[in-house]
């Protein structure tokens, strides 16, 4: 049981003809994919176009996706190739180093991307990120710890339950409450800018 199982369920529905399931995958991965592409395409105005092209390629190829690798690994590979092709077609140099999609398979979250951030980019936190961090800091410690172990450390509910010495249902409830607090805090920002992209 993992996020991969959710992705496979969505892919299975896409392959059965439910287009809306693809929208859920786009909403889930759009930010990670954009962040990944931004490592190749420095011009932010081009990032969105390349990301859109990557998702369209994913749509065209999803019929043949058989689940032999994780969906996000497959999607990352498409995004990287799309970004590289974009640079080549624009006559620009393709960076020697980038995110290897094979390496990405070892990560359930975007830890690899986070670790590879430049100091400049790390400093360039958005209002959204600041809001999220402020919200987490203001949470009761048990919520903060639960959501941090989940989102920062990538632990499963079972593992968090063991660390926090509480039932798994409590873990699930704490993470939900933390997520709701974050959601309430960022919703005005997203409503204002439409960045949540699902409304």
């Amino acid at each position: 049981m993992s996020e991969s199982a959710v992705d496979l369920e969505l892919v299975r529905r896409i392959q059965r003809g439910e287009r809306a399931a693809f929208d859920l995958l786009v909403q889930k991965y759009q930010h990670r994919i954009a962040h990944l592409i931004a490592r190749y395409v420095q011009d932010k105005s081009e990032v969105e176009d390349v990301a859109q092209e990557a998702f369209i390629k994913a749509w065209r190829g999803v019929a043949s996706f058989r689940g032999e690798s994780a969906f996000y690994t497959w999607l990352y590979r498409i995004a990287i190739n799309t970004a590289k092709n974009h640079l080549v077609s624009a006559g620009r140099r393709v960076p020697d180093q980038g995110v290897d999609a094979t390496d990405a398979e070892q990560y359930e979250d975007a830890a690899l991307l986070r670790d590879a951030d430049t100091p400049e980019r790390t400093l360039m936190t958005t209002e959204l990120e600041q809001t999220v961090y402020r919200t987490i800091e203001s949470m009761p410690s048990e919520l903060r710890e639960a959501v941090t172990l989940r989102e920062m450390e990538g632990l499963s509910y079972d593992e968090i339950a063991a660390v926090m010495d509480c039932p798994i249902g409590t873990v699930r409830s704490r993470i939900f409450r933390a997520r709701e607090a974050i959601d309430s805090a960022i919703r005005p920002l997203l409503d204002e800018t439409g960045k949540s992209d699902g409304e």
Binding site: V6, Q30, Q52, I168, G198
Partner: protein, 201 residues
């Protein structure tokens, strides 16, 4: 896990879905709800935006309405035609058994037909009453009456040939026994039982 998810609210289940912490049944149910409920979908998008922030993935890189633009672009694309099922994803039981049940049903029909024919004297000469009846006719396009040629499998065979046919039928039934696995199809009688039927009184 399923037992641990019974008391969850819908929103709590969505949060657990984001984390990949739901059992298959609940997961499928919540995904189904997500596809139907725009408000839940918006929450799904926000949960992932918040998560992206925590991962340092800069949600601000994409302009407003990005996923809608992708959806619009995708809607202009041809529909997905799945070329193969997902590896590691088991088909539903009824689909897995479907082909075997169809094959077993065919075998059962053939066998039952054989049993009826055996009881009715398939391997014997046609009854004189049947032979004496005038053949049915159909009218061909040219207006001529054309007799329908009818007969019974085994007509005109000698005893040795009849035995050879009987043996071939038995071999066929036994070789297709695997389609009538009693473990997977409790309501289908294994053909081996029918193949072992003794036609001689």
């Amino acid at each position: 896990m399923a037992s641990k998810t019974e008391s969850m609210t819908g929103d709590e289940a969505l949060s657990a879905l984001v984390d990949g912490e739901l059992g298959a049944l609940t997961r499928n149910r919540i995904v189904g709800r997500l596809l139907e409920d725009p408000e839940l979908r918006a929450r799904w998008a926000r949960y992932h935006a918040g998560r992206a922030s925590l991962e340092g993935a800069e949600p601000g890189l994409l302009g407003p309405g990005f996923s809608e633009r992708v959806a619009a672009a995708v809607s202009a694309e041809p529909p997905v035609r799945a070329s193969g099922r997902l590896a590691g994803v088991r088909r539903p039981l009824w689909r897995r058994g479907g082909a075997a049940i169809a094959a077993a049903a065919l075998v059962a029909v053939v066998t039952a037909g054989g049993v009826v024919a055996l009881r009715g004297g398939i391997f014997e000469s046609p009854a004189s009453g049947v032979a004496a009846t005038a053949p049915d006719t159909v009218v061909a396009a040219g207006g001529d009456a054309v007799p329908i040629v009818s007969g019974t499998y085994g007509d005109g065979l000698g005893p040795a040939e009849q035995e050879r046919v009987r043996q071939r039928l038995t071999v066929y039934l036994n070789s297709h026994n695997r389609f009538a696995d009693a473990d997977e199809m409790p309501n289908v009688m294994p053909s081996s039982r029918l193949a072992g039927f003794n036609a001689d009184p």
